[in-house]
């Protein structure tokens, strides 16, 4: 899964992001919300549309915090540790445990796919005591 690093040629340097690209698909939002409701529960359209905006806000908020930490440590690539740190800093420490489990599972599966056992041993300038940021696909 060798994604190309972000480059200005990605077509986003002009800042012209389409409206629908700023939000997650309403169908996914609706599906996940429904699971969290009681069986006969419903969500009004206004609420659903607003939630759609809220989750984009959440993404921006968390990403910004993670990115700040990354920059402070003079790294260029936001990694998983930055994210976990951001969650705690922003008051979402409840998410830490599920996220760590998820990350462990992800590394296990991705490690199998790659066939390599690397998980933080490599000496690279981006390592910050956690996952090596460079040998993972950079998006």
């Amino acid at each position: 899964m060798a994604d190309t690093p972000s480059s200005p040629g990605g077509g986003e340097s002009g800042g012209s992001v389409r409206e629908q690209d700023r939000y997650l698909p309403i169908a996914n939002i609706s599906r996940i919300m429904k699971r969290a409701l009681p069986p006969n529960g419903k969500i009004g359209k206004d609420a659903k549309d607003t939630v759609q905006e809220c989750v984009s806000e959440f993404i921006s908020f968390v990403t910004s915090e993670a990115s700040d930490r990354c920059q402070k440590e003079k790294r260029k690539t936001v990694n998983g540790e930055d994210l976990l740190w951001a969650m705690t800093t922003l008051g979402f420490e409840d998410y830490l445990e599920p996220l760590k489990l998820y990350l462990a599972r992800y590394r296990e599966l991705e490690g199998d796919n790659k066939g390599s056992g690397k998980s933080g041993d490599s000496n690279n300038r981006d390592a910050a005591g956690g996952a090596s940021g460079e040998d993972l696909p950079v998006v």
Binding site: P5, V17, P25, A47, V55, F58, V78, L84
Partner: protein, 129 residues
């Protein structure tokens, strides 16, 4: 061990999450771990919003979650409140009720004379309804 699950399947399209993250021009590169964690944490957040809003709706004996329920749920969780409350639409506007009776015959300013007062002889009637 869940062997039947070969891959982690995010609930949202990863490419879309990436686009949203990149709206912020300060964001440079993101590794795939971070991207997956953002996606999963977003799912957790969404479930949280839904659950809490649903609780508020139930308190108000409603089956349908609406904006007010969502707003209350946001307010009740301090970290969420801090970054999200201002982004929510304002509380639903009440229909504007005209509380003052607007009469179309306002008393004219003092000293004003109606024009027909100029024409009525003898009875300089200054009408002030």
């Amino acid at each position: 061990m869940a062997e039947e699950e070969e891959t982690i399947r995010p609930e949202f399209p990863i490419t879309r999450v990436k686009k949203i993250m990149k709206v912020d021009k300060d964001i440079n590169k993101i590794n795939s771990e971070a991207l997956h964690l953002v996606t999963y944490s977003t799912e957790l957040f969404l479930r949280f919003l839904a659950e809490k809003s649903s609780v508020v709706a139930a308190e108000k004996k409603r089956k349908t979650v609406n904006l007010d329920h969502l707003r209350t749920a946001v307010k009740r969780h301090q970290p969420t409140r801090e970054f999200l409350l201002d982004s929510l639409p304002l509380p639903s506007a009440q229909p504007v009720r005209v509380t003052k009776t607007v009469s179309d015959k306002k008393p004219p300013p003092v000293g004003t004379r109606r024009i027909d007062a100029f024409f009525s002889k003898g009875k300089a009637k200054v009408d002030s309804p």
